[in-house]
């Protein structure tokens, strides 16, 4: 069975109608908290850090802003790919009712991923516009930071969506945030270059999607993409595509026994 664009679009529309009722709850985590982080850490703490010299040739605010953008997309994506999935599959059964219509599992999964991409686009766009006065983006390449951050989110969301659809309950979600998402946020390049990690820990950071996403986003936002752009892109794309395919398998197992 193939994906039909029209049917996936209907899934996106349905998610949008739901979001119109719940968007207020997402304001803080999606829009406000990354800005507060930028103000407190980038600007506030950054003033102290900058007196010790630039980080990778950047002011600390310019260094941390793209990191916060990528990490915010990761967090929003993780949330979108966990609790709503459990709600749709189990708590309310709404995904079951979707599959009673011409919409099939591939349409549903594609629609979900497209929806998450739209949500992330809004988050990234607001962040980039609001941070213009801080002068943290430079050069025309900076616009590419937006798709880079969105792709970072999708590379995290798609595999998590596949995993979440196979869970019996939400028990594992807290652990995911605590033991996977939070450590990535703290150690995968958002706040300081991973080269400052102990030698043995650096390879661990290199295999995280957030590190690739942060490097990609930072390179574009600061106007100096690093030579590993193709590698970062490839890793993120593979995760996003493989995760989406895996999600069609776990959704089918769950909803079409």
């Amino acid at each position: 069975m193939r994906v039909a664009a029209g049917r996936s679009a209907a899934v996106v529309e349905g998610l949008w109608v739901s979001y119109r009722h719940t968007w207020r709850a997402t304001l803080v985590s999606s829009f406000l908290s990354p800005l507060l982080f930028l103000l407190a850490i980038g600007v506030g703490l950054g003033a102290r850090i900058d007196s010790g010299g630039p980080v990778e040739g950047l002011t600390y605010a310019a260094f941390v802003a793209p990191g916060l953008l990528a990490a915010t997309c990761m967090q929003v994506a993780t949330f979108e790919a966990t609790y709503p999935v459990m709600a749709g599959i189990k708590w309310f059964g709404t995904y079951r009712s979707i599959l009673a219509t011409p919409v099939g599992v591939p349409d549903l999964v594609a629609g979900r991923v497209a929806w998450i991409a739209l949500r992330l686009t809004a988050v990234a766009a607001v962040f980039m516009v609001v941070t213009i006065p801080f002068g943290v983006s430079s050069g025309p390449l900076a616009v590419l930071a937006l798709p880079a951050a969105v792709l970072t989110g999708l590379a995290v969301a798609a595999p998590i969506e596949a995993w979440a659809a196979s869970r019996d309950d939400e028990q594992g979600f807290v652990g995911l945030f605590r033991f996977v998402i939070l450590p990535m946020f703290l150690f995968a390049g958002t706040f300081f270059p991973v080269s400052q990690l102990p030698d043995w820990l650096q390879p661990v950071a290199w295999i995280t999607p957030l590190w690739h996403g942060t490097e990609l986003t930072r390179g574009f936002m600061t106007g100096a993409p690093d030579p590993l752009v193709p590698l970062h892109l490839a890793v993120l794309l593979v995760l996003a595509v493989a995760g989406t395919l895996a999600a069609t398998v776990t959704y089918r197992r769950r909803l079409e026994p």
Binding site: M1, A4, G6, R7, A10, V11, E13, G14, V17, S18, H21, T22, F92, G93, T94, R96, S97, I98, L99, A100, T101, P102, V103, G104, L255, E256, P257
Partner: protein, 323 residues
Amino acid sequence: MSTPPAEHPLIAARPTGTGPAVEAVGVVKRFGDFTAVAGIDFAVAPGETFGFLGPNGAGKSSTMRMVGCVSHPTEGTMRVLGRDPRRDGPEIRGRLGVVPQQDTLDGELTVMDNMYVYGRFFRLPRAEVRARSAELLEFVQLADRATAKVDELSGGMKRRLTIARALINRPELVLLDEPTTGLDPQARHLLWERLYRLRADGVTLVLTTHYMDEAEQLCDRLVIMDRGRIVAEGGPAELIRRHAARDVVELRLPAGAEPPSGVLEELADHVERLPDRVLLSTDDGDQTLAAVIGRGVAHERAVVRRATLEDVFLRLTGRTLVD
């Protein structure tokens, strides 16, 4: 596409084409080692109201999901609206209306938004979905609740909304999995009345129930299902005629006061001993009751009634439908 009859402009489901609406041959459904449906054959004629009557766990929902093309038989073949669900799933589902056993409404959304979103899954134009939603909410008597949040509705209202939603695409075949389970009698009757109107419009209905009165009231024809198998098939009256005597005498015996063995058997065609009562099947209940009294069988209470599908089920399986 034909236009709906003028006297029911709102219901507007489409008549099923010629040929069986559903045809199942040797259908088996296994979940791992467990066999939920153990080889069933049935056919639903267009325009007919067809029922699956059976207790919990009989395999009714598993069967309905296969008819609804969201699950496929492990063995056997299924044709729905003349097509192959494996190949033409989306196309078939576009012509079905599905009322699942559990309500799957979005409780956060309004009644109208639930209708709207669902209609869009059928790729219906926005204006058409809105217009039809308004008509269908009228049909299920929820028009005044259109802007209410679904979480605020009663169980009966949610069920009616689920039915309205299932009709958004003018389905040719409507599947109702236990449409009235958990509803109070008043809500049930309102719902039955709406289903009669659909039936009168020539819509093919397939429903499951574990209520024998629901099966008797609604179905033109039904199969009795037990442990994944079909144990009998026919019209409600026909099944009762074939598998039960006309009347039943229900006796409640005093604790520990079982009459000598064989006495009751002499008085009736068939005797069923349940934990709390004894059922005597007979063609003339009044006469049998008189004989029970004449023989001096001690009882606390006696009722004479017509045989029902419940008695048919009991006779065929040795168990009751609702425990």
